[in-house]
């Protein structure tokens, strides 16, 4: 069960992630003017930020160890940071620098940190089978590590979801499947794409335990993940968790979200961080002062990472030809 120390840590980590995403958002847009050009600026390319989904990453990763694996989706920063991926190297990667996780070859949708067994992919649902294979390796080697596959509710309609869940259940592997249900797949609402309300019901197609967690509450998410992770570590096989969360910003930066209408205002009111902050304040776990210093510390760490990235050299053009083969 979640105790008060953990709650403060959860809060800190969520603030850290949000601070990170906000800073990236700022720097992403900073130099794309005058005409907004996606390829221009310090951070080029598509950018999928995770604001609103911090409770998922934080509640999940508080249950994970360094040797556990995560395969993340196109929207990966919250997961990477919560898992322990080095913020400096990750930021340098996103800025396309030679000091980045992948020397600037991967970018925001392709973050690889083998020391944390963290990876992500820009192709919907395709990280899910990869996590199954990591779990297979863990189980063959007899470690108690688990592999976690994270995907959106849109991804749960992709064939790879089905095949991965079936395999993991068939082979009773230590996998936790997390569906981040933020109601949207770009502009397509869940109701247009998914004929059932509770996606965790899909687990029964594989004889797999599951739960849907409402409320975007880090405490509840932690508890649900804990049950799943413990089951997996104990050899009890996989679990599917569908976690209802919220996408506070556009699908990608530059998305005007005209399709959201009123729902967007409601979503904004459901920002999980102020809500959690209020609870912790009320419970006396935080004070205005401690909040201030937590935020300041986050700012400091994030700005240091960004400064590191900006100060880092770009890769040499000819490095493009390296690393095709090992």
């Amino acid at each position: 069960m979640v105790d008060n120390d953990m709650r403060v840590d959860f809060y800190k980590e969520m603030v850290r992630i949000r601070t990170y995403e906000a800073a990236l958002q700022r720097d992403y847009h900073a130099d794309k003017a005058p005409a907004w050009d996606i390829g221009a600026g310090l951070i080029p390319g598509e950018m999928h930020l995770s604001a609103g989904q911090e409770p998922v990453a934080v509640g999940l990763c508080a249950n994970l160890e360094q040797g556990d694996a995560i395969t993340g989706p196109h929207r990966p920063h919250h997961l990477a940071l919560a898992k322990g991926v080095d913020m400096k190297a990750m930021t340098a990667e996103i800025f396309g620098r030679d000091t980045g996780l992948s020397h600037g070859k991967g970018g925001h949708m392709h973050l690889f940190d083998p020391s944390q067994h963290f990876s992500c992919s820009g192709i919907i649902a395709q990280g899910m089978p990869v996590a199954v294979g990591q779990a297979l390796a863990f189980s063959r080697r007899g470690t108690a590590n688990v592999a976690v596959a994270v995907a959106g509710e849109g991804a749960a309609n992709q064939g790879g979801f089905h095949e991965a869940l079936n395999l993991a259940s068939m082979w009773k592997l230590p996998v936790i499947f997390i569906i981040e249900d933020n109601d949207w797949a770009i502009s397509v609402n869940r109701e247009t794409a998914t004929p059932i309300k509770d996606g965790s019901l899909r687990a029964s197609a594989y004889g797999m335990p599951s739960a849907r967690i409402e409320g975007n509450d880090v405490d509840a998410i932690y508890d649900a993940c804990r049950t799943a992770v413990e089951r997996a570590r104990a050899g009890g096989g996989p679990t599917l968790l569908e976690i209802h969360t919220v996408r506070l910003w556009g699908h990608f930066e530059g998305d005007a979200q005209a399709y959201r209408g009123d729902e967007l205002a409601a979503a904004t009111e459901n920002d999980p961080i102020p809500l959690y902050e209020k609870r912790l304040l009320a419970a006396g776990l935080l004070t205005e002062d401690s909040i201030g210093s937590i935020k300041a510390q986050a700012e400091e760490e994030v700005e240091a990472a960004i400064a590191y990235a900006k100060a880092s050299p770009e890769p040499k053009p000819s490095d493009a030809y390296l690393h095709v083969f090992a």
């Binding site: 907004w36 390829g39 080029p44 390319g45 070859k105 992919s121 991804a155 502009s187 397509v188």
Partner: protein, 343 residues
């Protein structure tokens, strides 16, 4: 081969994205069997604007937002086409072909042949291709050769709004499956750097551009430069720059299948020098096929080695400096032309 129709000054100029959605709209008005299906093709209007305005005009029964189930909805397109409808299906990025390729090459492309000609699959599968804006290894490829290597599909890739509209009209009218590849860089998107050639004069009335016919937007006599899609714009820029020093004949293939081999042979017979500019991967692809087209006939047509300005055989890197090292840029095209002229 025809150069794009001459359009008088003052004619309406639109983006390629608008030209495509206009062609679809006109076909939809003319034929109730035409419908559109894909991710974010509805109210959003297509991530790259290819279906802008269609949902507003035709509604949700004819402009269908799908779940992220490419095998499912491309297969559904095939089923509808088999029953005689004319679906225009969007695969958001060509890079996603791997989640649905079986439907594409084992079904869409082969049913007509396997049925001995008894079942037609009149379907357009359109998709965005190309890089240049740091979208990295899974969102920046061209891959036209991957489709072209598989028999049974026509493959088109326009370089400008005029051809895009005419080719889309032809594709929808065609009784065969047509892969319609629009490079993000030619769409004239407000949020991407663009060559002015991505916005151009386009007649409002319906017209077609024939599938399988190359265009020669810049005739010349010294060297043949064959290209397709976005790279054609760069080739034209270079050809114009070199006017007076080198007479460059630019061939815009427009279609990869059928490949207009005659146009290539005729030009190389004249120039004896060949530069191929291809944003798809270099090896086992378009550039090799073009060379082989000549060597099948008469290798002595080529006075000098062929210059292939193609994407090197590396995944697309993210950092701008790395990506531009690999892309077929104007500088590289110019250097290749110089090398061909020297050789």
């Amino acid at each position: 081969m025809t150069a794009p129709v001459d359009v008088e000054a003052g004619a309406r100029r639109v983006t390629t994205a608008k030209a495509i959605s206009e062609a679809i709209a006109q076909e939809m008005r003319a034929n109730p069997e035409v419908f559109v299906m894909g991710e974010d093709v509805g109210p959003y209007g297509g991530i790259f604007g290819s279906t802008g305005g269609l949902f507003e005009e035709f509604g949700a029964t004819r402009v269908i937002d799908t779940p992220i189930s490419e095998t499912g909805f491309i297969g559904a397109g095939i089923g509808a086409a088999v029953e005689g409808m004319r679906p225009v299906v969007e695969l958001m990025f060509v890079d996603f072909l791997g989640v649905c390729f079986d439907q594409i090459y084992n079904h869409m492309a082969k049913i007509h042949y396997e049925s001995g000609g008894n079942v037609k699959v009149p379907m357009v599968l359109m998709m965005a291709v190309g890089g240049g804006y740091s979208d990295a290894a899974q969102h920046s490829q061209c891959l036209w050769a991957t489709f072209a290597h598989m028999p049974g599909m026509k493959v088109v890739a326009p370089s400008n709004p005029y051809d895009a509209k005419g080719l889309m009209a032809s594709a929808i009218k065609d009784d065969n499956p047509v892969i319609f590849m629009f490079h993000k860089g030619v769409m004239g998107l407000p949020w991407m750097a663009k060559n002015p050639r991505s916005i151009g004069a386009v007649p409002e009335e319906e017209y077609t551009v024939p599938i399988g016919k190359a265009a020669i937007p810049h005739p010349g006599t010294d060297v043949t430069v064959v290209s397709v899609s976005m790279s054609v714009q760069h080739c034209l820029d270079v050809a114009e720059k070199l006017e007076g020093t080198t007479s460059v004949e630019v061939i815009d293939l427009r279609s990869i299948v059928p490949l207009d081999r005659e146009a290539i042979l005729a030009s190389v017979a004249k120039t004896g020098r060949l530069v191929i500019v291809d944003e798809d991967y270099r090896s086992f692809g378009l550039s090799g096929e073009i060379v082989a087209t000549i060597a099948d006939k008469d290798p002595s047509m080529l006075k000098v080695p062929v210059q292939r300005v193609a994407y090197p055989d590396i995944p697309v890197p993210y950092a701008r400096v790395l990506e531009y090292e690999a892309l077929p840029t104007r500088d590289k095209i110019e250097a290749a032309i110089a090398a061909a002229m020297k050789g």
